[in-house]
Amino acid sequence: MTTEKLISDDGIRNDGRKLDELRKIKFEIGVLKNTDGSAYVEWGRTKILVGVMGPRESHPKHLAMPDKARIDAFYRMASFSVEEWKSPAPSRRETELSKVIREALGPAVFTEYFPRTSIDIFIEVLQADGSTRCAAISAASLALVDAGIPMRDLVASIAVGKVEGQLVLDVQDKEDKEGESDMPMAYMPSKNAVTLLQMDGQITHDEFLRSIELLKKGCLDVYKMQKEAIEAHFKVNESNTEEA
């Protein structure tokens, strides 16, 4: 454990951010050739690639649902994505995260438009520096958009942590490991819908209530960037068409 402080006396975090400031986030849409939709995100030093396949025929067939599409998510960390080499075999953490990410994105998709099909969301964490599930969910929303899948809203996600007794928005790895708590949320702003909520660490009831407000603000910040990324992507495509 280091004795180095993570927040300075004037409220600046060790990477230069204010308590409620996000890292630099860059979304890119349509980056993979062989998928139906894809997105790439750089979220500070966290780098994640998401590919969507589908709606396509369900495999195995008996898992297909007669009234809606089946959504599956596969969250995997590359063996080189963390400081120590990680076995590429899925860990229990990756199994759990795949489940909660699927459940975070599911409510946004009009699955009833694609009965008997599967929509598979593949997530590869290339470099991890905290909040990978939040970055993955936010990027996966854009990959679903890129795949042309109708959605109720985008799902934006971010985490609030408690570090040295103070609530901070958008937790990076060091703050997650050395801080007192980590609370990620995924959110569909137009429905006020919380589609993922987890917490580990120790917070008071009052800190929970303040965290929810901060999470809403953070998700709206991410939501704005997601919309900008969509606009930028389709604008580029338009100008390409004009040239051709």
């Binding site: 795949s98 489940k99 459940e103 609370m183 919380v194 987890q198």
Partner: protein, 216 residues
């Protein structure tokens, strides 16, 4: 609970290890299939693990035998024998009570060798008792302690673990949360669910303290 002597993790060389696992026995439900734990079992084990771990009820620094070499591995193995709903809260309570009532073997270190003395020692517990309470959302209502049938139709659930040190209500903190299943909650529903979980956790805490000593 079972104890075994093993290697520490490289990032915590002087600490013992607590490992929670869940086995869904096939006769517990027609939905369960034999084989490796599936994602539901993994989630259950990890949610129970999170409540126990984050409450710091178990002082793992006291589970070190030879620093950097030999530590106690404490296995908390949850076996689901008959599934009638609300597995998370039930398994969390069972895991907690097992931890509170467990005795661990005493060892003596002689040079390189570790010998069992045959005696049993109390566990190094902090008295921070986590209680998990799950709320199921069905339509616009929140249900506490969902039954199997209620779980079949729920939109989603929110599990919240509240911990408290001994009898000191002022020390009440949230130490773990997990939303599960396909639907969503509004932020107001999430806030309400946490309030309900807080109330109910106190009731369950007095039930636990009437059965086992919770003061560590």
């Amino acid at each position: 609970m079972k104890f075994e002597i093993g290697d520490p993790f490289s990032d915590t060389p002087d600490e013992g290890v607590m490992q929670v696992s869940a086995e869904f026995v096939p006769f517990a439900s027609p939905e369960f299939e034999p084989g490796k734990p599936d994602e539901t079992a993994v989630e259950l084990a990890r949610v129970v693990d999170r409540g126990l771990r984050e409450s710091k009820i178990l002082d793992t620094s006291k589970l070190c035998i030879v620093p950097g070499k030999k530590v106690w591995i404490c296995h908390v193995d949850l076996y689901i024998l008959d599934h009638c709903g609300n597995l998370i809260d039930t398994a969390a309570l069972a895991g907690l009570c097992a931890l509170l009532s467990a005795k661990m073997p005493e060892v003596k270190v002689k040079g390189e060798a570790v010998e069992m003395t045959g005696k049993k020692l109390p566990m190094p517990l902090s008295g921070n008792v986590p209680i998990n309470v799950t709320l199921a959302k069905i339509g616009d209502k929140l249900f506490i302690d969902p039954s199997f049938e209620e779980e079949e139709v729920l939109d989603c659930r929110l599990s919240v673990a509240f911990m408290q040190k001994g009898d000191d209500e002022k020390s009440l903190m949230i130490c773990a949360m997990q939303k599960g299943e396909a639907g969503y909650l509004t932020t107001d529903e999430a806030v309400r669910a946490v309030e309900l979980a807080k109330l109910k956790s106190q009731e369950l805490r007095s039930l636990v303290s009437s059965k086992v000593n919770i003061n560590g």
